[in-house]
């Protein structure tokens, strides 16, 4: 799909519609991210913001960046956030009571102030009067254009950023590594413990079915208190009356001599 063509042809109309549709959603999602109590909800709302931003990138004739935004940011970074949220506590919720005096008011004032001043300053500059569009730059295609720049003019920052990536990965490994609290016992130690404790048979408990005397469909299983479990046989057999009684197969106490011979 030639995004560029779509964008150019219907630039004013479609772009405006899409913008005016998505922009409020973006802002509302951002506001929601601030206001919701549960952190997981915040993460999901941020993911929504990022996806709409990706659409904005595509609208701005930067399709490569838009897709990268979805894959890297929404896909990797937000997933990472969610992993950590799981680690920290999914249910962790902030109480809405503000502990620092004046922080809320001043924070809102400062943020509104920054936003308002930025908008005022930006609008006073004559930025919007010159509009070129990216037809020329995207002449060979957006990816090719970006590739030309990355591996041409910006190859040195590219290398540095890759070094940064490696460092970050290493750093994360170092930080997240945790020495075990105590030495993990190996198999031999575990076995010795087991023998020492004598709480259970050394050879281990018998597997399932070892003491089974009968595995017919007509014998119900026994519940822990000794009664038959109705669910373990088919209703048809029960209805036909062909249910065998488990007591017929009760285990018979024998003497020790007998057991040895068996």
């Amino acid at each position: 799909m030639n995004f560029a063509a779509i964008v150019q042809d219907q630039s004013s109309q479609a772009e405006a519609v899409l913008f005016y549709l998505l922009a409020p959603i973006t802002v509302l999602s951002a506001v929601g991210m601030l206001l919701v109590k549960k952190a997981v909800h915040s993460a999901l709302l941020l993911a929504a913001v990022m996806i709409s931003l990706a659409i904005f990138y595509i609208l701005n004739e930067a399709p490569f960046l838009g897709i990268v935004q979805i894959i890297v940011y929404t896909g990797a970074v937000m997933m990472l956030f969610l992993f950590i949220l799981m680690l920290v506590g999914v249910d962790s919720a902030d109480s809405l009571v503000e502990t620092i005096k004046g922080q809320r008011i001043l924070g809102i004032i400062a943020a509104v102030g920054v936003g308002g001043l930025l908008i005022a300053l930006v609008s006073r500059g004559n930025l919007g009067h010159r509009f070129f569009g990216l037809e020329m730059a995207n002449g060979e295609g957006n990816v090719q254009g970006i590739a030309k720049l990355i591996f041409g003019q910006y190859v040195w920052p590219f290398e540095v950023v890759s070094a940064l990536l490696i460092t970050a990965a290493l750093g994360a490994m170092v930080l997240a590594h945790r020495e075990p609290d105590s030495d993990k016992k190996d198999q031999r130690a575990l076995s010795e413990d087991r023998v020492r404790q004598n709480s259970q048979p050394v050879a281990g408990l018998p597997g399932p079915g070892t003491f089974a005397r009968h595995n017919a469909v007509d014998i119900p299983a026994l519940l822990p208190d000794g009664t038959a479990a109705d669910l373990s046989v088919s209703d048809v057999i029960a209805a036909r009356g062909h249910l065998a009684k488990p007591g017929d197969f009760k285990f018979i106490e024998t003497s020790d001599d007998d057991r040895e011979g068996n």
Binding site: I100, Q103, L106, A110, L121
Partner: protein
């Protein structure tokens, strides 16, 4: 007057000075010989002084002065002062008086202080005094004089408070020192004025400067007034006279030497030495005669009411120095007579003080004259020497005081106009009162009936005490005649104090008339005293039903009360206020700065909350501020 040079002047000062240091540093080891070393040092100085006198007579009248340059003392830019000694006719009189009378008093003290464990220290201080006083009279500049001036003040303090185990004596020493210090401000001011006006502080430099006319008359009057202030402090004149009575707390030899003969006459020396200033500063001269006249009567009135023999003699000293100061204020004619009276007074007053010491020694250190009486039979030598001094002081011819006091009265009358008449009458009145109270002292002490305590066994003093008294009595008899015969002293001193050889311009009264008036005044005084004290019995304790004048005179004419209410109490309040201001305002400001810093720090500390979010808020607020600034700038 040209000045020669000498190599030997320094020995005058050096011998007593080193002796003093040696005695002080030698410690108890020198206790057995300290007094002998001290007396020998003083006697050596006297011998050197006699040699210098001899040399001086050998020179001719216009070039009798000699100087000795010791070292360059101060050399700062345009201010240069050398340590140079000057010996001329004026100084040699003083040098002989100091060393001569001083040596006699040293000999007297060997016996007087024989029972005192600190006798060696006493002689060390006496030698220190001799050295300082000699430096005072031998200095060739106001600044060199100042060194000696301070030295004698120190020695006076040390000696008045010699028995400082008694707190009142120590306080008396402090009082004397403080009163002296107030006067010393005057000398400092005079030095400064001299330097500013003339660029030099030597006597020669100032005299030349005045002759060249480089100072305005206000400057000269100011300098004269400053010198007068210094003299008033040192010589116990009005208004700084309150310390002299209390200075009698020191041992009697001290009173004789310092507070009769020498230190208190330093003021007269200073004014005489500064004759070139006063002759050109008529306002200052007028102040001088006023101070002299007032003190003359002041001392005399106090002397009438004192029962303590030493305090009576102290008041008499105050009065006699008033005579001398008055004489110095009468211009070129008066300086020589002031000097004559100074020298004769040195003899008879020192003699009388030594006599008083002898009486006290015999009466177990009792000073109240009401406990004396009829001592002439028991202490004949003391009676004789004291009596000769008495005759000299009241001015009976042919004894010493007659010549000197008479000349002063004469010069006072000849000062001209109403001033002369007033001064003359004041001096006559003073003579009458002097006769009265000195006769009172004589009658109460040596005549009348015994009023002794039961424990008193009066006896004549040992020969070490009586021989100096005899020598001084000889001086009381002969000195006056020697000095005034043929105007000998006047002509001797003329090249220094009276260069133009003024003669008496006006003669209000013929000299014989003046003498007659003086004799008449003296006779009145003696007869009144005789009537009150010679005939009637003297009460054992001071009578209380007396006139208010007597009461006031007994309280030293309220001088201490005045000083206390005018200076001491306001001064103490001022000190309290300043101390309070210092503590609250100055210290408060300083510690206030500290406290404010602490408070500021405490408030700033609250911004470090430790919350990351509040720090983030601050960052964001800063960003807002920057953006606002950009917006405002680009508006």
């Amino acid at each position: 007057m040209s000045l020669g040079t000498s190599d030997t002047l320094v020995y005058l000062i050096a011998i007593p000075l080193f002796s003093s240091a040696f005695l002080l540093l030698g410690g108890r080891a020198l206790d057995r010989v300290g007094h002998l070393i001290g007396t020998a040092a003083s006697a050596s100085s006297f011998v050197v002084a006699l040699i210098e006198l001899n040399k001086m007579f050998a020179r001719d009248a216009e070039s009798r002065g000699v100087t000795q340059h010791l070292f360059t003392w101060i050399n700062v830019g345009s201010f240069q002062v050398d340590a140079t000694l000057l010996l001329d006719q004026l100084s040699i009189c003083f040098v002989l008086l100091i060393t001569g009378v001083g040596t006699l008093i040293h000999i007297y003290s060997i016996s007087y202080m024989a029972h005192d464990i600190d006798r060696r220290r006493f002689f060390a201080f006496l030698n220190l005094f001799i050295a300082a006083m000699l430096l005072l009279v031998l200095g060739n500049s106001y600044l060199n004089l100042y060194v000696g001036w301070e030295g004698v003040g120190l020695a006076s303090y040390l000696l008045i408070g010699f028995w400082n185990q008694k707190p009142t004596y120590a306080t008396a020493a402090k009082k004397a020192f403080v009163a002296n210090r107030v006067g010393d401000v005057g000398l400092s001011l005079a030095v400064m004025i001299a330097f500013v006006q003339f660029g030099s502080v030597t006597f020669d430099g100032v005299a030349k400067g005045i002759a060249a006319g480089s100072a305005s008359s206000t400057a000269l009057n100011a300098m004269g007034a400053a010198i007068l202030l210094a003299a008033v402090g040192k010589s116990a004149q009005f208004p700084l006279q309150a310390w002299l009575g209390d200075a009698m707390a020191g041992p009697t030899p001290v009173s004789a030497l310092i507070h009769a003969a020498t230190m208190v006459t330093a003021g007269v020396y200073l004014i005489s030495r500064s004759n070139f200033v006063f002759d050109n500063a008529p306002t200052a001269q007028l102040l001088v005669v006023i101070v002299g006249a007032v003190t003359l009567l002041f001392g005399a009135v106090i002397g009438m009411a004192k029962d303590d023999i030493k305090k009576a003699l102290a008041a008499s000293t105050m009065s006699q120095i008033g005579y001398m100061i008055l004489a110095t204020g009468l211009g070129p004619a008066g300086y020589a007579f002031a000097m004559m009276h100074l020298l004769t007074h040195g003899f008879f007053k020192a003699g009388m003080f030594l006599g008083a010491g002898s009486v006290m020694h015999g009466m177990n250190d009792e000073v109240d004259m009401r406990k004396y009486g009829a001592l002439r039979k028991v202490m004949p030598i003391t009676f004789a020497t004291f009596g000769l001094g008495y005759l000299a002081i009241i001015g009976i011819p042919p004894f010493a005081g007659f010549y000197s006091k008479d000349k002063i009265i004469e010069t006072a009358f000849n000062a001209g106009g109403s001033k002369g008449i007033i001064l003359g009458c004041v001096t006559l009145l003073g003579a009458a009162i002097t006769a009265f109270y000195m006769t009172r002292v004589m009658l109460m002490t040596f005549f009348g009936t015994k009023r002794w305590d039961s424990a008193a066994h009066p006896h004549e003093s040992p020969w070490l005490m009586t021989v100096p008294m005899i020598f001084l009595a000889i001086g009381s008899i002969t000195a006056g005649f020697i000095f005034s015969n043929g105007d000998r002293l006047k002509n001797f001193l003329a090249p220094v104090v009276d260069k133009e050889h003024h003669e008496h311009e006006t003669e209000l009264l013929a000299p014989i008339v003046v003498t007659g008036l003086a004799m008449f005044a003296v006779a009145i005084g003696i007869s009144i005293a005789f009537a009150k004290y010679g005939r009637k019995t003297i009460p054992a304790s001071a009578p209380t039903d007396v006139t208010v004048w007597t009461k006031v005179a007994r309280r030293d004419l309220l001088q201490d009360d005045f000083n206390e209410s005018v200076f001491m109490r306001p001064g103490q309040s001022l000190t309290r206020v300043l101390a309070f201001l210092d503590k609250r305002v100055v210290d408060g400001a300083v510690s206030g700065v500290g406290a404010m810093t602490l408070r500021l720090a405490g408030d700033l500390r609250k911004t470090q909350t430790g919350y990351v979010r509040s720090y983030a808020l601050l960052i964001l607020l800063g960003t807002v501020a920057i953006l606002t600034a950009i917006l405002v700038v680009t508006l």
